[in-house]
């Protein structure tokens, strides 16, 4: 038995893939359902952007942003949230795992809780948001009047990765909060899906206080607004120095660090359920 004991724990990525794979295969048991959900999801999400297109039939610009520029914001924000939702979105379901005590079974496995919780109920059907937003992003990138440079081109993947990370931070903070208040999923949704809604539109259409909150409190502005200011060469609505437009990686890193600390404290305080 000694050789078994010496085994190092499985790395988090492999653990995540193992669990996510099981969920993906479980979903395939209900194949028809899967196809329906993806198709309906694409339609519903598609209608949302068509609404924005209709808006532009009446106004030439929205807060100084043209349709392709708004599409770029919409697509970037949606792609970031879509990626995050696909990869880590399940973490928001942790409340029900806590409530019914089934989290116990995760905690006795030789793998950290986070990858297990992130992969829990992994669903490929969440691809539909990603597909739709990705399509809009591509349209925005192609059609927007961008003066392309290497720096601006590089900013696009950086923006998507940082955006995903910031949304993941929000998801994780929300999940940590659910250890104390198990019905907090709604509050969390306000920040994730609400944050997505906010950052789909140009920062210039919102009140300054709102934009300040997104810069200094919950750093949603760094998902797409601030990097996009650089890409599109737009004036900063808060008049902040230009270097802040490059801060997304720093902000995302710091925010995820804070979320990780909150998560750790939350797991430590986990109290399970009676019997």
């Amino acid at each position: 038995m000694a050789d078994i004991r010496a085994v190092r724990p499985l790395n988090p990525v492999s653990a995540y893939l193992a669990v996510a794979g099981m969920w993906a295969r479980s979903a395939l048991v209900y194949r028809l359902n899967f196809v329906l959900v993806v198709v309906v999801g694409l339609l519903v999400n598609g209608v949302e952007f068509i609404g924005i297109v209709f808006m532009f039939m009446n106004v030439p610009a929205l807060g100084g942003y043209s349709l392709p520029e708004v599409a770029l914001l919409y697509g970037a924000s949606g792609t970031a949230l879509g990626l995050c939702d696909l990869l880590f979105g399940s973490i928001e379901k942790i409340g029900s795992r806590i409530r019914d005590g089934s989290l116990d079974t995760f905690l006795v496995r030789p793998v950290r809780l986070y990858p297990q919780a992130a992969a829990d109920q992994f669903a490929l059907r969440r691809l539909n948001r990603l597909i739709q937003a990705g399509g809009v992003l591509v349209y925005g990138l192609v059609a927007a009047d961008v003066h392309w440079t290497w720096g601006r081109a590089l900013m696009i993947p950086v923006m998507l990765i940082c955006g995903t990370a910031i949304f993941e931070g929000v998801f994780t903070l929300g999940a940590a909060f659910q250890f104390w208040a198990q019905d907090a999923a709604e509050v969390q949704n306000a920040f994730t899906y609400g944050g997505n809604y906010l950052t789909q539109y140009p920062p210039t259409v919102f009140a300054k206080e709102m934009v300040r909150g997104a810069v200094f409190v919950i750093p949603l502005a760094f998902v797409d607004w601030w990097p996009a200011l650089y890409v599109l060469g737009k004036p900063d609505p808060l008049g902040l120095p230009a270097w802040t437009h490059f801060l997304s990686p720093v902000v995302a890193g710091a925010f995820c660090g804070i979320a990780a600390l909150a998560w750790r404290a939350a797991v430590r305080g986990y109290r399970s359920t009676g019997s």
Binding site: M1, S14, V108, R109
Partner: protein
């Protein structure tokens, strides 16, 4: 140092309750208090007590799920809460009320996931799986989706999943709850075998037959405290526990009247009678006395019902601790 060691371990839950519309009060629930015991490698311990006694809470602290409020706890020399992930590689856990199996997938797939998560070498995995499947009679079920299994079949699957990585200790929290008699018997036989192979087993249950058939050492826990820790015999023999002699007579008969026993029940106009006698006493002289004066056809001796014994413990009769 014992393999499992608890010293003054306590767990207090703070429960917030709504009182009226805006007021909330905080109540403290002491799930366990002052738990002190040790379990040696290779032991099989029955951990019994009524509902809410603190059995599950103990198991959750031993596995690192819950952090004790006070006291010191070590499993294999490490603090389970601090080293939960590393320790998990060395322990197996079965929670009777929740399955770790994958509802929509064939049973086999759940075991494959265990192999990946625990990084079990393929040959060892196959050997262990083969043995469990054989002894727990799971062979024909491996390709059945878990949702189609009966409770007993699922439990056997869960026990297999907990053993594939050769854990040094197996914790079972009410593994026989709700099972049919056949499944129970299979599970018990298997657990005895697991223990015989050297695995330490801590079995939580309130099915007393599990304990009677499996455990030489019993710990009785009540209101979060250990009220008895010792051999099963000690528990039964202590404090005037009684055995029962069941006799079948050739025909109807008045209540049997012999020294050292009293009739506690009669059936069929006295054709079958139940005689209680002190557990410490041999049944032989009693049988002889009955046979001498009554037309004895058949007889059996029933060991004291352990539930009665525990009830007696609870009634405040001092337990015989070891």
């Amino acid at each position: 140092m014992a393999f499992i060691e608890l010293e003054g371990v306590e767990k207090t839950f703070t429960v917030r309750r709504k009182r009226g519309r805006f007021t909330r009060t905080k109540d403290e629930v002491r799930a366990v208090e002052g738990l002190t015991f040790g379990v040696e490698r290779g032991e099989m311990v029955g951990y019994i007590g009524p509902n809410g006694a603190g059995k599950s809470t103990t198991v959750k602290m031993l596995t690192g799920i819950l952090t004790p409020s006070a006291g010191r706890l070590r499993v294999a020399g490490v603090d389970p809460q601090k080293e939960r992930v590393r320790l998990a590689q060395r322990i197996g856990v079965v929670f009777g009320q929740r399955t770790t199996l994958w509802w929509d997938l064939p049973l086999r797939d759940s075991f494959t996931l265990v192999r990946r998560i625990y990084r079990i070498p393929q040959d060892r995995f196959e050997e262990n799986l083969g043995r469990c499947v054989d002894q727990l009679e799971l062979g024909p079920l491996l390709d059945t989706p878990v949702r189609q299994l009966s409770l007993g079949q699922r439990m056997r699957g869960d026990i297999t999943a907990a053993l594939l990585h050769d854990p040094e200790v197996l914790y079972l929290d009410e593994p026989t709850i709700g099972l049919d008699i056949l499944s129970k018997a299979t599970v018990r036989r298997f657990l005895a075998e697991v223990n015989a192979r050297g695995t330490t087993v801590l079995l939580t249950t309130h099915d007393l037959q599990d304990i009677e058939q499996l455990c030489r050492r019993v710990m009785v826990i009540d209101h979060g405290r250990v009220v008895y820790d010792g051999g099963l015999e000690g528990l039964q023999g202590s404090d005037g526990a009684e055995r029962t002699l069941v006799v079948d007579l050739a025909g109807p008969s008045p209540a049997i009247d012999v020294d050292g026993a009293r009739v506690v029940r009669r059936e069929g106009d006295g054709e079958r009678q139940w005689l209680a006698f002190p557990a410490g006493r041999s049944a032989a002289p009693l049988v002889a006395a009955v046979a001498e004066r009554y037309p004895l056809v058949d007889l059996s001796v029933r060991e004291p019902d352990i539930e009665d014994v525990i009830a007696r413990l609870y009634r405040g009769v001092p337990a015989q601790a070891t």
